[in-house]
Symmetry: C2
Subunit: 389 residues, 2 copies
């Protein structure tokens, strides 16, 4: 067995509507943060992996070389990876593989997306084009619609209520208000959340994640050199990946993502742990219903039991299994390619005790990240562990 791979540094741009910043500026901001907080110099880096989900948001094709040059890292191997909204974790997994295979020792992963140069209507259409262009997109369905189907099915099958979904939005807005990197740092009341305007019924405004600009970066190295960069490397213990049919209509069930279940099973097996061993999770709450089914698909709760746990606030930072206590995609924001990398940066900081005190999970040593592309066509699950304790 060859040696493992660790995250030795993380960086994060402020998520939001970043009028003055283009794609390369956002990437630069995240990497600058990483360089400022990690004992790394450019010559330590062997290769980069760039995660950008869509060319169309800003018209720049093939973004990896642009970002590599902006970082002053031209010359080094680079690759762009893309798995729709699961692009960020696809980047981390690719970097893991590059190192573990023996080709590279230290790989910088940058996830970035500049989404607000176009209108939110145009952005919604662009994202919808990642749905099936032959059989679904032409009939008008976009992502709020796909997840509305899932929400309706979950409500019908398990009695999931408006209050449960809104409670997830309330929690995520609460934690975003405590997170200085978040896009919308505003609390919402349960009443406001329940009464908001419909987007795609039953999903309303406070069920839907944000269209954000942002970037995040992590540096991965093989374990034997990790201590050169930090005293507290975070080990990548588990990796799982799953997918599903392109068309929602071809699936047996709408109340679960089989790809997430498969990815979780793989990741737990590789890490040698179970759901009960996870101290906190960042899950892909592109819609509130997605957080709910993630709680079930990841095995934190049995099917149909996550809703009551939400009402009982078990997913708050001091609850049984803290989930998205960074504000989640819902309120921290969801710059597509950045999201999975942002999850890793958040978990790393949590495990190091470095986040804002109002949302710090005390004593956490193991975190899970769940990152979904489209409506489950890509799911990546990663398990991170503090290994110095």
């Amino acid at each position: 067995m060859s040696e493992g791979v660790s995250i030795v540094g993380g960086g994060h741009a402020v998520f939001g509507k970043r009028k003055e910043s283009g794609l390369r500026d956002l990437a630069h901001e995240a990497v600058r943060d990483l360089f400022n907080t990690t004992n790394v110099s450019k010559s330590d880096i062997d290769a980069t992996v760039i995660g950008v989900a869509g060319d169309g948001f800003n018209g720049q094709g093939s973004p990896a070389a642009v970002i590599n040059t902006e970082l002053g890292l031209h010359g080094l191997p680079t690759i762009r990876v893309e798995s729709a909204c699961a692009t960020g974790t696809a980047g981390i997994i690719s970097a893991y593989n590059m190192i573990k295979s023996g080709l590279r020792d230290a790989v910088l992963v940058v996830g970035a997306e500049k989404m607000t140069s176009i209108s939110s209507g145009e952005a919604t259409e662009l994202m919808a084009r990642a749905g099936d262009l032959r059989w679904e997109f032409p009939f008008g369905v976009s992502f709020p619609g796909y997840y509305a189907l899932i929400a309706s099915a979950h409500m019908a099958e398990y009695g999931t209520t408006r209050e449960i979904l809104s409670s997830i939005g309330v929690k995520n807005h609460y934690y975003a208000s405590k997170n200085k990197l978040a896009h919308i740092r505003k609390e919402v009341s349960l009443e406001e959340a329940m009464g908001a305007i419909d987007i795609a019924s039953p999903l309303n405004l406070y069920d839907c994640s944000l269209i954000s600009d942002g970037a995040a970066a992590v540096l991965l190295t093989k374990d034997s050199i990790a201590k050169k960069f930090t005293d507290t490397p975070i080990s990548i213990k588990g990796i799982g990946q799953g997918t599903d049919t392109m068309m929602m209509a071809q699936r047996e069930s709408l109340t679960e993502l089989k790809g997430a279940q498969r990815a979780a099973k793989e990741a737990y097996a590789m890490a040698g742990v179970t759901a009960a061993d996870i101290n906190l999770a960042t899950v892909h709450d592109c819609f509130t219903i997605a957080e709910l089914i993630a709680m079930e698909d990841l095995g934190f709760y049995k099917k149909g039991e996550a809703g009551q746990a939400v009402l009982d606030k078990q997913t708050y930072h001091d609850g049984k299994i803290p989930i998205n206590v960074d504000g989640g995609l819902k309120a921290k924001g969801h710059p597509l390619g950045a999201t999975g990398v942002s999850q890793a940066v958040e978990i790393r900081k949590q495990l190091l005790g470095e986040v804002e005190s109002e949302r710090q999970v005390d004593g956490a040593v193991r975190g899970l990240s769940h990152n979904v592309g489209q409506s489950g066509q890509f799911v990546n699950v990663l398990i991170y562990e503090r290994s110095d304790l």
Copy 2:
């Protein structure tokens, strides 16, 4: 040292203007060819890597899931990789890393592009958008222009002539005429090639590669299971990657690609061979000048000496170092994401003695593939070896 990785099967769609076939049909055709010629069933495959360079050619965002479903492989992990025109080899390298890292045992790589649904003018603009969108694209330069700069510089510095460039086009058209998978199976005379209309002076029509539809596929496995699928696995012996500045204006020299030199050096070192040990090569002749500088960057010839070798026909199938005896991008065609995978399929067949007799390189045991993205912003070099002899 963990075990190696081999190509155990290859498949190829016919390149061309494939009016009746969309992206998923082309991918399906290539994979069907692989399944028909390799002892593999779906349950043998652990994951897929999908190489598609541009979303914009057919409007389908995030193409990996679409292709995965079309192949009946949904459920399995998939990822899309993109390195502009070097996307195909980026896919092969990613699959190599997945296997070598221990995460997967058998990975299917599919490279595909559907380029002719839009006009050639629109396709040229779309590709130009992979150039620098801030400092170069807005001033009107597209890829023929970038390579015209390289050609002009090479002519000025080394006395490279119109006849040398045209002789490369003549060779590649000759071999495409013998290749049943090629887009344009038509020979051209040196006179025709030299007198063709200008595209971006000094490059004319017969200096420029084609806008093609196409797909190609390879199956990679770890060596210990390779014999289950074929008696003649082709080992991946060397991998090298290099990049360069986004802007051409920032480069020291226009007569070489530093990324190619770096990639070649890495690949030779990993394989433990030199340029003299290579029996044939597929190089990225997006323009004839690109084939010429590849001959020099890869170390087959000293700087400035490749031109005479071209005139001496040393790169024909029975010459000193056969190059692009499949017709190359020039005449076999250049469906962006497919090209690097097509190179691998061609080298595999050459090493197995399975190509058309008029272009078979006798006794070849080791081949090199050189795949370039943009104007050298990405370069991947791979060395393949027949290991059963």
